[in-house]
């Protein structure tokens, strides 16, 4: 689905990513992890075609749907209005959504169980609800690759669980290929088949979650000891930081 080789991306004249190569097969889920400012968003913007790479080759084998980070719209669009915008690619410059477009959007609202949001003002919805509407918007574009920029940021645990299981469902039942960025290794443990650990603009680890996602790599990634924690009585584990309480010296 995604094939990138020796990708170099610059933004505002500064090179953000240098010689990135990665491969993602159809139907797999890639979690992108990295510190703030390392270039996760730049990578995502490159994948969805907002930024042209300066050099290297990038090929994406299908339509891309994008779910941005949580935001508000300046006017009181309904959730339905917002999701309909996902049909843009199919409508042309002078087109407006017709009956079929409404049917497609309603189909996804039904699938996500958010029919009730339809008439509500987008801005009045909670973060989790807005995230679902934006996923409906991306799905309405009939994409094969779904790219999400920190889909779980600013969501409480229950909503994180909801979004994660939805992504898993989309991958399993709809053969969707998924790329998402996150700050929590546990999200990768739960649903990602592959991980991309972005240590810096030119250093990264990319591979199947089972191999690449471990305490050692995460420690290097975050420049902070990260330890594996097994939930007692459950066949599950996570990675958690071991905070040092010594990083910053604050003087009056």
């Amino acid at each position: 689905m995604i094939e990138a080789s020796d990708l170099t991306v610059e933004r505002g004249g500064r090179i953000i990513l240098r010689d990135y190569s990665l491969r993602l097969e159809r139907g797999r889920t890639l979690a992108v992890l990295g510190a703030n400012g390392v270039g996760k968003t730049t990578l995502i913007n490159t994948l969805i075609g907002l930024i042209k790479p300066r050099s290297g080759r990038l090929s994406i084998g299908g339509q891309v749907g994008f779910v941005p980070q949580l935001f508000e719209v300046p006017f009181s669009y309904s959730a339905l209005d917002i999701a309909l915008m996902g049909r843009a690619r199919h409508l042309g410059l002078f087109g407006a959504p017709g009956k079929r477009d409404y049917e497609i959007v309603r189909h996804y609202f039904h699938m996500l169980g958010i029919e009730d949001f339809e008439p509500q003002t987008f801005n009045s919805l909670s973060g989790g609800q807005r995230q679902l509407v934006m996923i409906a918007q991306a799905l309405a574009s009939e994409c094969e690759l779904l790219v999400l920029d920190e889909p779980c940021a600013a969501l409480d645990y229950k909503n994180q669980d909801k979004v994660l299981s939805l992504l898993e469902h989309l991958r399993d039942s709809h053969a969707m290929t998924i790329v998402f960025s996150t700050h929590m290794p546990q999200h990768a443990v739960e649903i990602a088949s592959d991980v991309l650990l972005m240590t810096s603009g030119s250093r990264y680890v990319c591979g199947p979650t089972a191999d690449a996602l471990n305490a050692e790599n995460l420690t290097a990634l975050y420049d902070l000891p990260i330890a594996r924690a097994d939930f007692s009585g459950l066949a599950k584990h996570t990675y958690a930081p071991v905070f040092r309480h010594e990083g910053v010296v604050i003087d009056g």
Binding site: V73, P74, A88
Partner: protein, 348 residues
Amino acid sequence: MRTGWLGRKLASVSILPALITLLVAVVLYSVTIGRYDLSVRDVTYILIDNVHPLVAPYWDPVHEVVVEQVRLPRIMAAVIIGFGLSVSGAALQGLFRNPLVDPGIIGVTSGAGFGGTLAILIGWQGYLLLAMAFFFGIGSVFLVKLLSTVRGRTSMLTLVLAGVVISAFFSAAISIAKLLADPFQKLPAITYWLMGSIASSNYLDVLLVAAAVVPSAIAIYLLRFQINIMSLGEEKARALGTRVVLVQWIILVASALISAGVVATSGIIGWVGLVIPHVARALVGADHQRLLPVSGVLGAIYLLMVDNLARTVTTAEIPLGIITALIGVPVFAVILRRLHAKGGWSSD
């Protein structure tokens, strides 16, 4: 919530026909008022007489001239100008993701104002004045767009700021022109023209302003769904496959055409394009498919009523631009405060 939505949907279906009916009623009423008092019946007969005589003309020929040569072109001008300014205001607010934008903000109004002022100063009138206002209006938009485009990308915030800068520049240029103008003839002419008035509109003016407004309004309406998407922000719109730059250009040029056409024929009439879209949004919601036509018709009704005030309240004409500003500014203040209470708008 669902009943509220149903209510909203029903309202949005029937609101446009209701407004159009209201517009027709206000037009008919507007023809009757003025120094010669005529009834709606007289006016209807006088107008129908042109197409097919229903009754033998019982009216004074002066009345026919008053209705057909004086009031009707003026009313048509008010309707077209109100319609155009409101449609372009609604489109620009959507495009800039900013509810406080109006056609004046992209620099076209003061640019066209300067063009016209310059024409009066040189002693050009009629078509030449129109052409000058038009030329400078469109030119200032290109200038604004040029100033705000860096490496092929236009930031909407920069564009608004560039509009403010260009407006300030042309305002200063207008002041210089006024300073140089002959204080007994040209200065009053410039001042009165700039204040905005459609008192002396004839059918040629109507035709000219219609030629600017109608195609532009159609172009804007065709882009209704793209404007919806643009209010998500430039990057998200791009990610959805929208041809952002093309849409921006079409909306900007169409709005510039409308404003330049209006300024050229009638001087500066401010605030209509800012205030009316808010009222329309309260009636039918933010979706531009419904918002644009409702804005337009509402603007037509509004400007027609304002013009009726302008020509009937006192024996002398009050310039239209003064009344629209007197009404517009307090409404703007209320909108600003309500926005502030909601936490403002995001600027990215």
